[in-house]
């Protein structure tokens, strides 16, 4: 299950994940024939082929339309298992509304409860992000006690903590029946300079989202791993040279994913890693 607010990169990641699996770049898993339904994925590809990121998922589309079901063969511990990987692409507004209202569409709630793995998406450079008020503006608001334009805006890190709280209530299993797992992916990682990227996504979360970092560190119900990703390795909407290069060579080798592991930062093209880990396959 992909969880993340609006504009956190879920849809573009799904596209890049599909290409990665289809190209055989993923350790421990191989595709077992094409999915029956490719229209949603192809609609995303249309954006890429015109040199843009995919736009926001339509909130009115049903789950079976905005999803991808991939027949796979898993190779785990020398055992081969055939299965289907169901990846629903949920509109970020739904998760945002769930935090604001403590309500969630019944179909998505049911899907969450039956999920085997969860991936939380954060796009630090998104304009939708919101930081907590500082002492100056907060103090003025309390003294004035007037209606303020920020009254209903929930800071990004508070929303992320609330996602974890929702998962503590509703998410409870993975394929191996071990402790449930959550992968956290910081998308759009190419935006940052070398210094930030060399410190890794864990350090970024600690610095920018102390509440979320604290809750992650002390979570008892789940195991968590942190990743960072870039689907193109840059911004194809402003970097024309990059765009042209990818259109010429294809998108199968574009971008990268970084695993902030105990052995340090490990970069690869295997976009299935966060899902494989969340499912308990690795």
């Amino acid at each position: 299950m992909f969880i993340g607010g609006p504009d956190t990169g879920k849809t573009n990641f799904l596209m890049r994940l599909w290409l990665s699996i289809n190209a055989g770049q993923c350790i421990g898993v191989s595709i077992d024939g094409l999915p029956e339904e490719l229209s949603y994925i192809e609609s995303i590809m249309q954006y890429w082929l015109s040199g843009t990121f995919a736009q926001r998922t339509d909130v009115n589309l049903k789950m079976d339309v905005t999803s991808l079901t991939i027949p796979l063969t898993y190779n785990v511990s020398d055992n081969e298992t055939k299965s289907k990987l169901f990846l629903p692409d949920v509109n970020g507004e739904l998760w945002k509304t769930a935090v604001e209202t403590n309500e969630i569409n019944a179909e998505w709630m049911s899907q969450l409860e039956s999920s085997h793995g969860v991936v939380i998406f954060i796009r630090p450079s998104s304009t939708q992000n919101y930081a907590p008020l500082d002492w100056v503006s907060s103090g003025q608001l309390i003294e004035l006690m007037e209606d303020n334009p920020h009254k209903n805006q929930i800071p990004t890190q508070v929303m992320l903590c609330e996602f974890l709280r929702l998962l503590e209530i509703k998410f409870s299993r993975n394929l191996n029946s071990t402790k449930p797992r959550i992968s956290v992916i910081l998308t759009g990682w190419d935006v940052y300079d070398d210094a930030v990227r060399n410190d890794g996504p864990n350090a970024y979360i600690e610095k920018q989202y102390p509440l979320f970092a604290g809750k992650l560190r002390h979570l008892e119900a789940f195991d968590v791993e942190v990743f960072a990703s870039s689907v193109f390795g840059g911004d194809i909407e402003s970097d024309i040279a990059l765009r042209d290069k990818l259109l010429e060579m294809g998108f199968e080798e574009s971008g990268y994913i970084v695993h902030d592991s105990q052995n340090g930062l490990v970069e690869s093209k295997d976009f299935f890693q966060p899902i494989a880990w969340a499912l308990g396959l690795i």
Partner: protein, 334 residues
Amino acid sequence: MVTRSCGNPECTFAQTGVCVLGNDPSACANIQVDEDRVADPQVAELLEPVLGSPESNPTFPHSASLGLTDVDILMARERSHIIGILGFPDSGKTACLVSLYLSLANGKLDGFSFADSKSLMAFDELSRGARDWPDGVPDQMTAHTEVKDARTAGFLHLKLFREADGEKLNIFLPDLPGEWSDLLIDKNQTERLSFLKSAAYIWVMVDGSNLRELISGRTTTHRTKLLLARLVEMLKPHLPSIRLVITRMDSGPPKENFIAEIKANAIKLGIVLEIDYIASFSNNPDVTPSSGISALILKTLSLNLSERIFWPNDPSKFGSERQMLKFGMKGKNE
């Protein structure tokens, strides 16, 4: 469907199913049999609901402020501490809570980091000034606090990780209306403050800017001494540690004679009063916002706190430790 009733006005058959004359209901002459009107198809059509029930989405528990029953349940699950926060209106109670939250949200609470909160949205709403009092002061704390526009008192929860020893501390902080402190003094209204008997610490917040002037300083000193006296009456013989928290230090230093007087009076009451100075926010460039907040938390949640015996052998102490649960049960039975 058929309904039976009795024509005898003295009979309670309709309510009890028993004939007061001792007759078999099927044979009693007073029994009246009415066919259910719904059996009439024409009527049945008219009684069909015009609108279907609205579909409701599944919900999950909120993270607004917690009611007493919620706190009761959470305290029973995990070792926890209540920090009671009292103070007159505008003494800076809410500002202190907001400053504490912002310190954690920015990773700036020295010695501690955030581990969890069951009332994170409540903290965030406080920081956005989203809570107000459209209907005036509420009469009592509700057992289950709903997320509403009206401000209702409730508890805020934090789980803090103490870096010195790696201990995780659950704390509950009530967000009480200042008027309750006034009512404690003026009317000895203690009922809704009974949870203080389970508090490990109490912070008595005093507006430091009031202590800079003679009239406001004398008034505040006078009322604070009375507040402490009421607290002692309510909580003796088992007094928790009480701290006097002087707020709004960004407005300048308070007159220390007032503070010394309060402290001396506290000693007579049997309280060893610790004093803290904070500036939750700051209009003074020489004073950093949240000054003193870290020190207040560090001293309150000192290492000695974790060494306190949770279930002491002294039965009288045991009674006061379990007061929270008694209060919660009493609230349910009223």
